[in-house]
């Protein structure tokens, strides 16, 4: 493995992990609101969140590119006001991975929240707990298995993301190149040995993610 290959591996694992954490502050409240409350526009939001699952990733990437480019509605604002560029930077990779993996987290977490008996939350209120305390001490722990499962799915999805990433972040060596992008590029250039090494790392990473989650869940199950 060359230093450049190691850089790609670390960057991919790091940004995929970061994206599965970054979607929590948006994904958990959204999942909770979808599971527990009725509000106008609920089905619209539900559809929007799930859209990246069914849309071709490249199409999602194009939408993000238009929104977050320097002349885009959001990208322009970020560039002018905060001097922050998203497109063709590592932030672009993070954005693409987050948007692509968000629906997986929301779906798992929503089911997990729905499975928490509302009676437990109500009784916690009669014991003097406010909304935040009820959420943190009752709802969240009881839904934790589903949430962790959702995060693992999101992480796995992020590891392999290709279409949206290449649209938003390009494939800039040492900057935005991820495992999938690098494997594709190496095959295109006829550098099969490079591609196979990265393939091996991909398999190892995926294996560890799934295996780790199994261990984690088993541990959580053993705890009363």
């Amino acid at each position: 493995m060359t230093a450049q290959e190691w850089q790609i591996v670390w960057f991919t694992a790091w940004v995929a992990a970061l994206s599965s954490l970054a979607i929590l502050p948006v994904g958990l409240p959204a999942a909770w609101l979808l599971a527990r409350r009725d509000w106008p526009g609920k089905s619209l939001v539900e559809t929007l969140i799930s859209l990246p699952l069914v849309l071709p990733p490249v199409a999602t990437g194009l939408i993000l590119l238009k929104l977050f480019g320097r002349r885009g509605a959001i990208g322009g604002f970020l560039h002018d006001r905060l001097d922050l560029d998203v497109v063709f930077t590592w932030r672009g990779v993070l954005l693409a991975l987050s948007v692509m993996s968000l629906p997986l987290l929301v779906r798992s977490a929503r089911v997990a929240f729905e499975e928490v008996d509302p009676r437990l939350e109500q009784i916690a209120r009669t014991l003097g707990a406010g909304n935040l305390r009820v959420f943190c001490t009752i709802t969240l722990p009881l839904a934790s298995r589903g949430i962790v499962g959702g995060m693992i799915l999101a992480f796995a999805r992020a590891l392999g993301e290709f279409g949206a990433t290449i649209m938003v972040a390009g494939n800039i060596p040492g900057k935005t190149s991820t495992l999938s992008l690098a494997i594709y590029q190496n095959v295109q250039l006829g550098q099969d040995a490079h591609a196979f090494r990265l393939l091996g790392v991909s398999v190892a990473l995926a294996f560890m993610a799934v295996w780790g989650s199994e261990l984690l869940l088993r541990k959580a199950r053993r705890k009363p």
Binding site: L120, Q122, A129, G130
Partner: protein, 360 residues
């Protein structure tokens, strides 16, 4: 402390709860068949459900007033709630469940001491265990203790014994009585069990199909059901207060009105003196034309007060120092040719007299 419920109107699908009532008792039994709206009522009082219209006042605090737009949040109501399924937090240990409601997680709750509650409910040995490892009766006690540790001003109990078998019920009942006597905590006690009501409550409200069918003291309601629907809920016709005057060889002598009855001591706590005497109408035999020897321990000289036809039966009220209801087949009644004013002898076997401890 008094609980005022005014203009309550709650519609849920095809069901509606409409009631006006006020309770001043220590323990008020909310009595009724399933689907009568008992749990909905508790949910309203606890603030877990919103009614179309309601005015709820506990002591001098208005908890809910839909007209003025008042609705005190559940967590500020100071109302403990033990739901039918207990709702113990499955991911927490017994200790953590108990601590959940303690104010600021401190070692003592302001109203009732932590240690005292653990002692009364005999929970100490359960503390380190997970709630999923507990038996039904243990879960029940933990749920009770958890509610008490939040120092409520009112305790709502939703059929706390219904999930337990008869043996366990007998064992939990005294714990509830201890809570009542030790903490002077007012309770709303949902049940459809007559014996629990008699053993614990002093006041009761009968709910049928979301409407109040009757309210009053326990004795009043049981002995004088307001209508057939209420009477139909009770399977024991005669309930009279009595006092144990003698105990010998597992048999007790109870004074009821001016009569003395012999009954089996059964599971009465030691030193019980005040009891309710319960006799099912079909367990009484009537003799006409003088007494004759029999194995029944109770031979009561009686006078027929009324005879009413009830389907294939005759309901006969006799007075024998107290009012006793007797159910006869019509055929038997015709053979005896019973009429008001007739002198008869009522026979009741000792084991068929049910005694329930009563707070004096």
């Amino acid at each position: 402390m008094s609980l005022l419920l005014r203009h309550i109107r709650l519609s849920l699908g095809g069901f509606s709860l409409e009631m006006d009532a006020e309770f001043h008792g220590r323990i008020t039994a909310v009595f009724g068949p399933s689907g009568a709206g008992k749990t909905s009522l508790l949910d309203l009082v606890a603030g877990l459900r919103r009614a179309q219209s309601a005015f709820i006042q506990l002591g001098d605090q208005v908890l809910t007033d839909t007209v003025q737009g008042v609705s005190v949040a559940t967590r500020h109501r100071g109302i403990g709630y033990v739901p039918q399924d207990l709702a113990l937090f499955p991911h927490l240990s017994v200790r953590e469940n108990l601590r959940y409601g303690c104010k600021s997680g401190g070692a003592t709750s302001p109203l009732f001491g932590f240690e005292r509650i653990l002692e009364i409910l005999e929970i100490q040995p359960l503390l380190p265990r997970g709630v999923t490892e507990l038996s039904g009766g243990e879960k029940q006690r933990v749920a009770l203790a958890r509610a008490l540790l939040a120092s409520p001003r009112l305790l709502l109990l939703d059929e706390p014994l219904s999930s337990l078998d008869l043996n366990l019920r007998r064992r939990i009942l005294p714990y509830l009585a201890r809570i009542r006597d030790e903490f002077h905590l007012p309770m709303l006690y949902v049940t459809h069990d007559r014996f629990e009501t008699l053993a614990l409550a002093d006041e009761m409200v009968v709910l049928i199909d979301g409407r109040v069918a009757q309210t009053g003291t326990v004795q009043e309601v049981f002995s004088r059901p307001a209508n057939l629907a209420v009477a139909g809920l009770f399977t024991v016709e005669t309930v009279q207060p009595g006092r144990i005057v003698k105990t010998a060889d597992d048999l007790v002598t109870v004074a009821v009105g001016s009569a003395l009855l012999t009954a089996v001591e059964g599971n009465l706590p030691a030193n019980t003196r005040e009891v309710y005497v319960c006799i099912r109408a079909e367990d009484v035999i009537l003799l006409k034309g003088g007494d004759s020897p029999s194995s029944a321990r109770n031979h009561l000289a009686a006078t027929v007060r009324s005879v009413t036809r009830e389907g294939p039966f005759l309901r006969v009220e006799v007075s024998c120092g107290f009012t006793l209801t007797v159910l006869l087949t019509r055929q038997a009644g015709e053979e005896l040719a019973l009429e008001t004013g007739d002198r008869v002898v009522a026979l009741v076997k000792a084991p068929q007299i049910h005694l329930i401890p009563r707070s004096a």
